[in-house]
Symmetry: C2
């Protein structure tokens, strides 16, 4: 069982405003979903902690993140929170067939995203086969990722979860060999990995003590021994 406190509003951590306006730079560069969003998506900016959409609200639109990090979460009746995924640049949100969103999306950092109203999205789906393939692909990827997460939550111990989390971050990072930036709090990470913030902290600091990672600041981690980290992750 977990504590049921109010969730903290995370601090802003990165300036992201330089990444705007990809549609003016290259109007038709990327096919499928990204192309649609570049064409018809309306740019929106959210401050850290702001809600982008709420679970059970009508699913009025689909989104693509241009910059920043979003957490997608479910809250139980008694206030426990599960973060199903962290969403960052190029990722989509709300590709659902249902009338309501099935999770809440909140900005962790300042977030820039493109928003496409559902009627426009559905019209485009009907006419554009490339878009359909792209959406199919993205939904399949999400399904694979959620199965990965089930393995993590159902089978891995705390050390394995922490190591797996860092390896995933590194895999998504632009510079795999460079320093990772963790825009989310320990509580966010805990709610994603199904453990407490104290256990997350202990696991990260154990990796630091044993020289597997460096952590010059709580939100900056460098993987020193990638092989060792993979060994600890073990099962991913």
């Amino acid at each position: 069982m977990r504590q049921h406190q109010q969730y903290p509003t995370p601090i802003e951590q990165n300036a992201v405003v330089q990444f705007i306006a990809p549609s003016t730079a290259a109007p038709e560069q990327i096919p499928g979903f990204s192309a649609l969003m570049d064409t018809v998506g309306i740019r929106k900016v959210f401050k850290p902690g702001q809600v982008i959409f709420l679970e059970d609200q009508p699913s009025d639109a689909v989104y693509q993140v241009v910059a920043g990090t979003v957490r997608c979460c479910r809250i139980t009746t008694d206030g426990r929170r599960q973060i199903s995924r962290f969403v960052s640049t190029d990722d989509e949100m709300a590709l659902t067939a249902f009338k309501t969103y099935d999770y809440t999306a909140e900005a962790i950092t300042e977030v820039v995203l493109l928003r496409c109203p559902r009627p426009a999205f559905e019209a485009a789906l009907r006419s554009d086969e490339t878009l359909r393939d792209s959406v199919f692909q993205r939904m399949a990827s999400e399904l694979t990722a959620s199965r990965d997460q089930m393995v993590l939550l159902g089978q891995l111990n705390a050390a394995e979860r922490a190591a797996t989390f860092l390896l995933r971050l590194a895999g998504n990072s632009a510079e795999p060999k460079g320093e990772l930036h963790l825009p989310m709090t320990r509580q966010d990470i805990a709610d994603h990995l199904g453990m407490t913030l104290e256990t997350v902290s202990r696991m990260f600091n154990k990796l630091k003590r044993t020289g597997v990672i460096e952590m010059p600041a709580p939100d900056r981690i460098r993987i020193c021994d990638h092989d060792q980290l993979s060994t600890i992750a073990n099962a991913a």
Copy 2:
């Protein structure tokens, strides 16, 4: 951490052969995916314990279960197993956009299913908008279900997991007020709920002792106090 034993071959439990040939009875009754499978799917039968397809094999076909129960699982390098879902009548399998399956499917009971080769499926997808809507709907449902499962695995304690599992079974059952049949072993349930078979057994028997359920046999459970079970499930 879990034990890494070889997984048992479950026993056969229900005769299912009376459910065959829905396509002769009502050729065009159900739209979308079911209609496709009824039309072009080839009927296959699997014995308990038989592998239907393996993770990482080429994803040659899509499937729909006509009768029986299938487990979909991932095995870690050191032999831990996570069952992402149990698949039963009318459920689909292998709606993926990727070249390989991302989980293994094994028959728990005798299983009858319809198999549609991928080229035929993709051709139908291109020409049939109703099918596309139906597939979109099914993938979205799978995504919602996997988020439910992440909440269970990440946030619920053993008693809540057991109660939630039974409520889900009851929800899917033809007769919600009747007796539930559990075709899977305690080990299967444990690997689905992220706990050990001993803990599953303890939780079920605690529910039995407190009169919330009756369990005339290990694979037959009747929910006596649905409200109480919901209260224990708590967060689902």
